[in-house]
Symmetry: C2
Subunit: 113 residues, 2 copies
DNA sequence: TTCATGCTTAGCCATACAGCTAACTATATA
DNA sequence: TATATAGTTAGCTGTATGGCTAAGCATGAA
């Protein structure tokens, strides 16, 4: 199994900021212009721009410019790598839990109760 | 719906580092001592300690000290908040996709093809 | 008691991050 | 053409992060 997960770090890092998660949630309602996204944040536009570029670098959003307005939209499939990592981990972690449970069961049987 | 997700940032941040993800994967095989965890990393012990404390702060691992050896173990339920965030997002994002699809369908119908 | 082992703390360094202001570009609109 | 609007770029600041070394416990073995 190759370790082709070079973007997981970018993805997790992008999601580690509340402002960026808020932007994503906002964008889930539909595409929006940069200034629309910055409006509810109490942050300055350049700061929001930076967040947007982090999100875009991570592949979580895409943007295009029409006239002087740039419209941003989510990229739904971007969460897939994260989801599969989570699923992998859950699989291993649960397997480990099961083994542990088995051991406990065995212990209890050996004790005769 | 209350926004009780104060730890999501910690969680995502903890997972944004490849070394820390590697440690987690390693720990999925079973508990391990600090030095066991540092061995395969090519990093110095204090550095690994720092990573461990980040993981522990995020609630992803737990540790206990027996004698002079500290043993770390994963906390399986720690990924749950992340999982539910992901599920929420997916729900919204997919709904959005569906709406978009509907619009396209309607457009095509209006065009008569 | 002495020594090795395993972890811990303190503190240094370079880089990255999140915020800002100020100045600039480009497109509408009057 | 002049002006307002929407983004963009450049560059500054303080803090956080990830790495290190060196020195300091504390415990187990000799």
């Amino acid at each position: 199994m190759a370790k082709h997960e070079p973007d997981l770090s970018l993805l997790f890092h992008a999601l580690s900021d509340p402002t960026r998660r808020a932007i994503l949630t906002r964008l889930a309602e539909g595409p929006a212009a940069v200034s629309e996204l910055s409006a509810p944040t109490a942050l300055r536009l350049p700061t929001v721009m930076r967040h947007l570029s982090v999100l875009e670098m991570a592949g979580l959003i895409a943007s295009s410019k029409d006239g002087r307005v740039r419209t941003c939209a989510i990229v739904p499939e971007a969460l897939l790598p994260m989801r599969s990592w989570l699923d992998e981990q859950r699989a291993i972690w649960e397997a480990r839990l099961d083994r542990l449970e088995d051991q406990v069961m065995k212990l209890m049987q050996e004790r005769g109760t």
